[in-house]
């Protein structure tokens, strides 16, 4: 190992470590500040910078658990998941999974089983915000397909579209926590709690998705054509109502910017 490689490894190890190992021999004492102070600037700045990034990316999580627990959460995260990304945008990628692990293992996290979903929702909103641009299909585009082609027609989702299914009142809690005057939250378990997140032009949107619409949407996402979507709904809807219902869903998805094309 050459000198430069060795120095960079030593310096990085110091920054990632506890910062309490005294000052190493490769630091010069010639500067204005003591060698310990020189190094502590980098050690401290590393943690503060990453903590600030996480606070910006997970504001509802921060508001939900308060500064003290958030400091503990981010300290553990920064130690366990050092950044492997050239952009800080991606640093919080593992936060929800990190919280899920903590919930399984230790106090005080075991008393907050809903925190995983809250962090997951926040991260997903961030991903949608700057996801790939694509054409927003229009009603006019839809009308240009001949009626006889509709049964075989498949639809391409806008790249920003995500679906999440929660077991808690996650979105309600997020809205409370990120309002102009955040108030205390009450976690409640909920069933059939699926949500769509997408970007309509430049605006990030989300809404709940009813169970039968979720079946239709999932069939479309799994390469199902119009006929497949109709068939998937047979167990939950009157057969005669299905084609019109699916057509109205498609129109709504198009109008709200969820579809980028057909194939």
């Amino acid at each position: 190992m050459n000198n430069l490689t060795k120095l960079q490894n030593n310096m990085q190890q110091f920054i990632l470590g506890t910062g309490q190992s005294g000052y190493p021999g490769w630091i010069s004492a010639n500067g204005r500040a003591a060698p310990e102070t020189q190094l502590s600037v980098y050690h401290f700045a590393y943690r503060e910078r990453l903590k600030e990034v996480l606070a910006n990316d997970f504001p509802a999580t921060l508001n939900a658990i308060g500064d003290e627990k958030f400091n503990l959460l981010t300290k553990l995260y920064i130690n366990n998941f050092p950044s492997r990304y050239f952009s800080l945008r991606d640093f919080g990628k593992n936060m929800a999974d990190h919280i899920a692990d903590l919930i399984q293992q230790t106090q005080p996290w075991q008393t907050m089983p809903w925190l995983y979903e809250l962090a997951l929702f926040e991260y997903s909103l961030g991903q949608t915000f700057d996801s790939t641009d694509a054409y927003h299909y229009t009603e006019q585009d839809l009308l240009e397909h001949a009626t006889e082609n509709w049964p075989e027609l498949k639809f391409r989702l806008h790249p920003s579209v995500q679906t999440l299914t929660f077991t808690w009142n996650t979105v309600e809690m997020w809205q409370t926590l990120t309002s102009d005057s955040p108030s205390s939250i009450k976690a409640k378990q909920e069933t059939n709690n699926s949500w769509l997140i997408w970007r309509d032009q430049l605006t990030t949107r989300f809404r709940s998705i009813p169970a039968d619409e979720y079946i239709a949407f999932n069939t479309l996402r799994q390469d199902g054509n119009f006929t497949d979507i109709c068939e998937a709904l047979l167990p939950v809807k009157n057969e005669n109502d299905i084609p019109l219902y699916v057509a109205s869903l498609l129109k709504s998805w198009v109008v709200h910017g969820l579809i980028s094309g057909t194939y």
């Binding site: 960079q8 630091i27 010639n30 204005r32 950044s83 700057d130």
Partner: protein, 293 residues
Amino acid sequence: MTARTHQDRPYLGYGLGLRKEHYETVLAERPDVDWFEIISENYMVAGGKPLDYLTRIREHYPMVMHGVSMSVGSTEPLNIEYLKQLKQLIHRVEPEWISDHLCWTGVNGLNLHDLMPLPYTEEAVQHVADRICQVQDYLGRQILLENVSSYVSYKDSCMSEWEFLIQIAERADCHILLDINNIYVSAYNHNFDPYAYLMAIPADRVYQFHLAGHTHENNLIIDTHDHPIADPVLDLYAASIQHFGRVSTMIERDDNIPPLAELLQELNQLRNIAENYFHPAIAGNPATKIKIA
């Protein structure tokens, strides 16, 4: 169109770092800023608002790109995926030039997201110069290399910071983005004369100046970019103009970001310092503001 100075250096005038807090104001008011510098990594994304604002603002202003993650001083291989995305952004923005820092940001696949200083050694000079050559070959253009603020000095160092910077720039044949505030910060922290640094830099290599605010902490100065430019840095800027002539100049503000109007006032202060030197009779008169043609 980019003007050229008497030294045939491209000259953009007086610019600001483009920050999201000012997007709407910039589009609505088209402020009197000659150019904007963007942080490259903020726009190395797939789509959405950041790229939309970038495209709309680029229609009205010249831009340069400034990166923080090239890690040109690291001892691990260059990140080709990073360079690929950087090249795509260059294609989109068509900047006047691109820059990054004379530093390393991590090893062993990690990113410390900080501008880590290098030891000033012959080994490091050759290593960094070789890598800048690789980057310039890949991008098909020369880059600007910026001096960083530093708080630590290494026992291995065997030359001054400015000798280190000059040797790398000469060997790699790259240009220099001279951060006047960083010179002041490092000079204070490491007890050297900032004016000696300034006077040693070859004028023909310098394409851009950065100016920013800093903070005193624990017997050190930290390059925080969260205050107006300090008076001693303005003095150093005035000396820089005398030494280098007209160089594209901008303010970096990354924290405690004020309304755009406040930064425009600060930018005018820089403009007046420069114009007072070049054209003392008419400096400070907005009606006669000079632009190099």
